[in-house]
Symmetry: D2
Subunit: 395 residues, 4 copies
């Protein structure tokens, strides 16, 4: 199978590709890959781990290649063993991104990534942008190609029933060049689903989540899933919050304070881009508990950490006889390392879903997302069981 | 229903009784009680929350009463609101313990609780001790009586097939006054099960877990459960460890460092008594992960904390591409407050089980224990689901 | 000596008075009182610990008394042993506040404390407010009276050279009823210093720090000190930051995340009132290190914590060969308990200073403040040495 | 100046040499070097940072060289940037250790380092060992040579007045081949001091601390200092404990729980070798506070951490009105990175001391040690001031 990544030169995409190739070469193992757990052993028959080919869109460094970009990220982060990196040059240096779009991606992305080069900069209309994206993907794809969006978080675009509410409205808006209402992630999801390519939305951006694109997926019989990879603090939150629920302990307040120093952090330090992320992180606790404790959810830029995402959580809870007690946790992880394998996992499960005739939102992939589409199940354990049961029932 | 507690004057027992009475008076709510979760609503019909009567055995302060002992604990710990305490005097001052046994409870218990007064101090033989314990319980019990052991942790008694391996051997040993092989918790469990009283073992002591007593429970058709209430750090461990398993993250090491300052801490600071506790806490991680990471599990006495149990856990784990990452948590809770409601829960579920004809080890109560009998399920989430399903299927 | 407190019914003031009385009765010891360290033993001769009388201004609950207000705080916080509280009723119930002012105290204070009752509500002009405040104080004071401001944090008032720049300008502004430029803390400081009463500013509010009032203190030969009691996270910061400096370790970033749930927290959740606090906390690290690392300083309201102030600090630093390392600390303290004794300390040292003829800003009291006036010394250790040396040289 | 290191191939020594060379090449800066702080600027004139030559004794890998050994450590730990490492090969590959002794170094060292090769294995007597050590050093030394012991921690050797109490007794014991009473660190210190070479003891081993060798240092006019580099948790403890003292806050208990995974950790996991370390770490808090709070000091091996030393400290303290509060810190550092620069610092200051005619124990270097000789000053701040004042007075 093949994988197309929107945001191909980012640290998550480059690390995902590097990891896949390192496993293939036998210089690392499958640690971190959910899809390689023994319980999913037969998945290998449908969606083999070692992808045939990688491609994607980017808005920066278009004169370079995936290895050079990975190397830049590595120099900043040293996020895995140097000995693995140096063996991958040959495998990665020929992978090159196509020029993409940053439509409505916010000032954060444009400022922090500059110099950027986008299709809209060429003066193209929405329709022309769609055509160019489509052309790139059609040249790449085969029957087993999946697309995953790992580009930076977009600002929230206000919902517009006319444009986002139906496929017809969406396609009309493209024709009418309504650039104010359509963002890059929508375009990417549109082109993917239109061409029968399963689409995974690893960011909190709109992606395939608007009604227009859900309609398209149903119509074309394509599976898709999102939103926002559940990689760090939220993973712990949704693992731990059930404990308080099971034990009838009342959560009085839950503080989650996140700091990170990479591009993601820089982009999120732009207020516009932060909004969708905080909303995505904040609601999970109350969804699991069934009531709304006082919560603080903050994300802040902390440059020296680079891609080392750190979170400080404090949970104040009440037990028997009204006594208040405390729980603290500190999450200290490398974002790309916890995110990258999930990108491969999502792609493998989406390809499997397509082969099994699943269409529309695959809500059984909720396990991988902070804001899973079309489900209210946020409990990590139940999500995992759901995933296993879904896989078993299809297999 | 009625509740008989071995270790009636300890902080866990007195807090459990106080809590039950405070709920009855409407001066506290049911926070902390698993059995009061909406999902178990109908349990109230079988095992009403407000117990009719409390009694128990003790080895100290036999001239005093449950309120005076609760007040002593409160003075040390101030573990709940003073305004609740002062309203309970009338309800609790007439509850008095009967003299119990401390056979093979180790030097820790005897030294730290002194002055103690036990049946064996009166020069009684094993058979006579059993008779006295039985007489006390028979005077108290009705058809809906449950017994729970909340006495201090006993040292490990080496397994002796002749004495522990069969009911016949056990009863012969009592007759032959084999005081070297039989501990207080075994005597308590024996008398309970012999008389049709469900028995819960809230400590890591042997209790009803030896083959002889399992045989007795089956024979008499009595349900029992244990061992060792899962109240603190182990609860978190068994909630969190599955996350690493689901995500295929490799735990390299797990350090759990526990400190506490109450009697439990003092007793555990005696090497002999510590052993069974550490074993009970240590194995859960590997049972969940399916492999044995390097673990450190320590429990130490820290006097100024009193009943405020604090644990520091550090998890070192490996992700994609071999990168090592870190997770830390701090548990800061009041032991009696997290333990007491579970004592009531276990009693209610055991009474329910008896009414439904369940006999022998109720392994579906694993959710409440660190070392659940007859099951290898340590994952808190699965244990909770098992509990709910079991309850639903019987109801 | 006597102590007059602005904000007499707040938790800090009531706890300070309660503590003083509890020490006097012998039901608590002098733990927490810097002025009772052996090195300051002779201070007792100049400023005896047990104050003769307490009084103060308030803007709420003027029909009640210090004991009833302390009891309210205690019910919320249970911040010290109930057995101490109940022995203090007789000592505290006759202490009653006089009506004060909340001029320019911000919407936070007024909303959170309501119902409030202030002199300006009576329709008084600035000049009349000053007269009333003065009358109250003159009725109370003797030669050994000190005043300390423990009222809530005021918003920053923009500096106005005409009003704040000289005593003459300040007094003219009072006459001209320039209510937009003069805040409650300035009025309190003005009346104190005008009448020869040493003034301590325990808040980050303007207080005696404006040039006009510094001029007044010099003119009248009165000592004063401030600003903002160094009680919690900042105390640790200024103790720890020197370690990095001494060892030539480069601090890359310092995150300080504070949460608290009492009135102070509520008031600070009003943006207007927060500004002066954050500024006060934020600059200390760079002052000690001599360069400006990346810093995050946040204060947020977390209601269930009540007066339990918690801070999470993360320090990212670089060592030999450029390697980055991490340090974390968690501060979990009861604000009133760490603040109250310092109020007594400051009063005692100010009274001592007055007796020794010290006038103007006593910068040697920097040890007690987050934003010490007229000094750049923020290192807690050096501040302590300065305090000891100053005391010894005067004694 | 030249530096001779006992334990030349260990991670601390190799990192110290690498760091010195990297500074010389301009590929890293002087971060982490106390002796390069602006206040010690003129030290460069007496003890230039870039050492002329390095040498030392070892008991392992004698067929290899400093670069190959550094590379082995780096492969395990990746403790600094790979780009620095690869530029140092030429500078370090010709530095080779001489065969040393492991006399009375405990089973821990011998087992963990094997294969080892020692002078005693050649069948040499004590006197012959001394001669060989001396020959190696004499071939290397010039007038500005300093020796520092960075070998693994030795077990405690019981004090024997006859052997350790006087120089004469010590020399007699060498002649009489009393191998049971004399350890490697004593031999190294003896040879150094006998030949006028200042000696720094960076370990808690006996080194130059026995009366016999102090006598020798005085007699020969040589400065020496020790013991046990204050690099991590103890550095924080001795920085922070004064805060509690200054504020009259009563420390009820201090838990320090250390884990580490390198050779040091492995050796310390041998009970015999651990003893001297724990004693060295444990006493500092009570020395600073002036009373003995309850303390827990533990060191445990945690293999996956490698050289990443982590410590968890919990401080329980009492404030005003008897209220108990909590403070937690987590130290997460790379041991070699915090230790290595201090080795260079100590060498530079000892050389300076020698030039200034200082002889015997230089207690003003206490700042660098956990168990400073001949002083009771453990407060990091006072130690730093002492160091600065001493330096200034001599300069």
């Amino acid at each position: 199978m093949k994988l197309w990544l929107f945001g191909l030169y980012g640290i998550v995409a480059t690390t995902a590709v590097a990891g896949d190739r390192a496993v293939k070469k036998g210089i690392t193992d499958t640690t971190g890959l959910v899809s390689s757990l023994p319980v999913f052993k037969d998945l290998e028959r449908y969606s083999p781990l070692n992808f045939d080919q990688f491609g994607g869109h980017e808005i920066r460094a278009l004169d370079r290649n995936l290895y050079s970009e990975l190397f830049s990220h590595w120099e900043e982060n040293q996020h895995f063993d140097y000995r693995i990196l140096k063996e991958l040059e040959e495998d990665l240096k020929d992978i090159k991104a196509k020029k993409g779009t940053a439509l409505n991606c916010g000032s954060g992305v444009l400022e922090e990534l500059k110099p950027v080069s986008t299709l809209e900069d060429e003066g193209l209309s929405l329709e022309q942008i769609v055509e160019r994206i489509e052309k790139d993907i059609l040249e790449f794809k085969d029957d087993e190609t999946v697309a995953v969006n790992v580009a930076s978080t977009e600002p929230v675009i206000p919902y517009d029933q006319e444009v986002h509410g139906s496929l017809e409205g969406f396609e009309r808006a493209i024709k009418e060049n309504r650039k104010d209402r359509i963002s890059a992630s929508m375009i990417y999801a549109y082109v993917s689903l239109k061409n029968g390519i399963p689409y995974g939305n690893f960011t909190p951006s709109a992606g395939s989540g608007i009604p227009a694109l859900k309609e398209l997926a149903e119509k074309n019989g394509v599976p898709h899933a999102g939103n926002d990879g559940k990689t760090g603090e939220t993973l712990v939150k949704t693992t731990l919050a059930p404990m308080f629920a099971y034990r009838n302990l009342k959560v009085l307040g839950w503080m989650g304070y996140n700091i990170l120093g990479d591009l993601d952090g820089k982009v999120l330090s732009h207020k516009q881009n932060k909004e969708s992320k905080v909303v995505s992180k904040d609601k999970v606790v109350s969804k699991i508990l069934g009531y709304e404790p006082y919560t603080i959810t903050e994300i802040n830029y902390f440059p020296s950490l680079q891609d080392n995402k750190t979170a400080f959580d404090f949970i104040h809870y009440q037990g028997f006889l009204g006594t208040k007690m405390k729980f603290y946790f500190t999450w200290d992880a490398v974002d790309a390392i916890v995110a990258a394998p999930l990108v491969l996992d999502i792609a493998r499960f989406l390809n499997f879903a397509k082969k099994k005739g699943v269409k529309g939102v695959v809500k059984e992939l909720a396990f991988f997302f902070k804001s899973p589409m079309d489900t209210d199940e946020y409990n990590t354990h139940k999500q995992f069981e759901t995933l296993v049961n879904w896989y078993r029932s299809l297999k």
